[in-house]
Assembly symmetry: C2
Homo-oligomer: 161 residues x 2
DNA sequence: ACAAAGATGATACTCAGTATCAATAGCCGA
DNA sequence: TCGGCTATTGATACTGAGTATCATCTTTGT
């Protein structure tokens, strides 16, 4: 029931320091942007992150953006979220937390859900398949309460909202 | 319990005819290759399909391969399977059948499993989120019985096997 | 302040997938 | 069977996301 507070910039910066990596200006700028989005519950792509970061830090290179996203993903702060149309975007999460995402196929809102496959189901699979399970990926799709009020067809682009 | 027989080429060709589309030579060749892989339980990418088809039909264009895969996917004969490393490949399935995939992260073997999220879990999510659920995507990862015997690290490429 | 190692950013490149379009091949009616 | 209509094809050029390279710039420890 403990509502985990949104990941903030300092947590990510601290993790970088703990990993023995350097606290550089580009990393800080990119992390600040990601943290802002995290609080707003907004997901993003590398390209979007790059463009947004350039508003306040035009000197940041595209490569660095990709590198930083990969780094944060490795540190466990970024999850790839899959949408109904198959597109994938990044989402800031608490490292180590196991949860899944429910995305609105109309407005692309992302909600973290803490349900998972029941252990017994995993047991069954493991027994009947002979596989040793090591992980899974679960994404739920639907229409959020707001979007249920409209009759508009499902959108393709992410520019909505 | 009825073990669904593997999808064969004729089923796919019939579906194309029923959709009012034309039974062309490239489509036939590509479908034959996919059907062969279906029986063998092999998954593939568009690029792989193209190369393989060229052995027996060097005149097939790359574009046509992409178009045919898209067509078959629309007709429900192809599922995108996700692997532990994030790569995605196609897998022939019975159209309309709801199931999920379990992939071996060492040899990339794909197994269809018929378990799913329990209805009550979906109910819970629906109630607590306010979303109207429209679908989901579930992929399980593990090591198949064969690969459990080895201690080799997880592979990256698909060329194994 | 200095050298070593880490990190950066410009550039060029790869790779999967898409767009275009003239040429081809099924289909159907005469 | 013929001829025209249209779906389909395949060559080509293009896009966009991500990667590789490498000289230059920073951070850090001494
Ligand atoms: Zn919505
Ligand atoms: Zn889970
Ligand atoms: Zn295996
Ligand atoms: Zn399911």
């Amino acid at each position: 029931m403990t509502q985990a507070r949104t990941v903030n910039a300092d947590q990510m910066k601290a993790a970088i320091a703990e990993a023995g990596l350097r606290p550089t200006r580009p990393r800080a700028a990119l992390i600040d942007q990601m943290a802002a989005w995290a609080t707003a519950g907004t997901d993003f792509t590398c390209e979007e992150l790059w463009h947004s970061a350039q508003a306040s830090a035009p000197w940041i290179g595209r490569s660095t953006t990709f590198r930083t996203v990969e780094l944060l993903a490795d540190l466990g702060f970024l999850d790839r979220v899959t949408f109904a149309d198959g597109s994938e975007r990044y989402h800031v999460v608490q490292p180590g937390s196991h949860h899944h995402h429910l995305t609105c196929e109309m407005c692309h809102r992302v909600v973290e859900i803490d349900i998972c496959l029941p252990a017994e189901v995993l047991e069954t699979v493991q027994r009947s398949s002979g596989f040793a399970l090591t992980g899974h990926r679960l994404e739920l799709f639907g229409r959020c309460s707001d979007c249920q009020r409209h009759t508009v067809p499902v959108i393709d682009s992410v520019d909505a909202e």
